[in-house]
């Protein structure tokens, strides 16, 4: 049972344009959501998070949007840079101790 889904295995974007990565979840108990970025041979790196009491959170070029009624969140990267090319994982948590449930990941490629 895949509780967190990233339905797009890959995304290709031109440098300077917007990248939009999507994530859907099914578990209503999830109330904290995160995005991680992963380069080859490295561990996932935390990017940005959002609590269910908010619908938007910004950090520089990165913005996460949460639509609780649709059980959907998205990560916007503006403007996209070649260094953003990586695998992006959406993750969710619904308990006190921070157990993370991850999606399958989306490979983002930003072309110069």
């Amino acid at each position: 049972d895949q509780q967190v889904k990233q339905n797009s295995p890959s995304l290709s974007v031109q440098e300077g344009r917007i990248s939009i990565l999507n994530c859907d979840y099914t578990n209503s108990m999830f109330d904290y959501f995160l995005w991680y970025k992963k380069y080859p041979a490295e561990g996932p790196t935390f990017l940005i998070s959002i609590s269910s009491i908010k619908d938007k959170n910004e950090d520089g070029r990165f913005t996460v949007f949460l639509n609780k009624s649709a059980k959907h969140l998205s990560l916007h990267i503006v403007p996209s840079q070649p260094g953003d090319s990586a695998v992006y994982f959406c993750a969710a948590s619904g308990d006190s101790y921070g157990k993370l449930t991850f999606g399958q990941g989306t490979i983002l490629t930003v072309h110069p």
Partner: protein, 114 residues
């Protein structure tokens, strides 16, 4: 400030063997979580250690066990290895281990079971 470190980087074992993976958390962190990442999948939670006790466990069999030492470092042990145990094993550390505490991941140990 050293981040999360894991050893070894790569490991090759045969079916039925046992393996121990090691993790040193980020300086100041007291909570360690372990994840298994199969090829093409996202990381899957194995368990979390806090104050030398297993505080939470994911859907993994008892062949997977762990330990946390007084210095907060941790080990993951897998007994009776199966081909399906081949994966990248990630360790993550945090301070306090609540859901809003950011988890910092190590580079992982790549385990191959032949």
């Amino acid at each position: 400030d050293a981040g999360v470190t894991q050893s070894p980087t790569h490991l090759i074992k045969t079916r039925g063997q046992q393996v121990t993976l090691r993790c040193s958390p980020k300086s100041g962190h007291d909570t360690v979580s372990w994840y298994q990442q199969a090829l093409g999948q996202g990381p899957q939670f194995i368990f979390q250690y806090y104050e030398e006790e297993e505080r939470q466990r994911g859907n993994f069999p008892d062949r997977f066990s762990g330990h946390q030492f007084p210095n907060y470092s941790s080990e993951l042990n897998v007994n009776a290895l199966l081909l399906g145990d081949s994966a990248l094993y990630l360790c993550a550390s945090s301070l306090g281990g609540t859901r809003t505490d950011t988890q910092y991941f190590g580079p992982g140990t790549r385990l191959t079971v032949l």
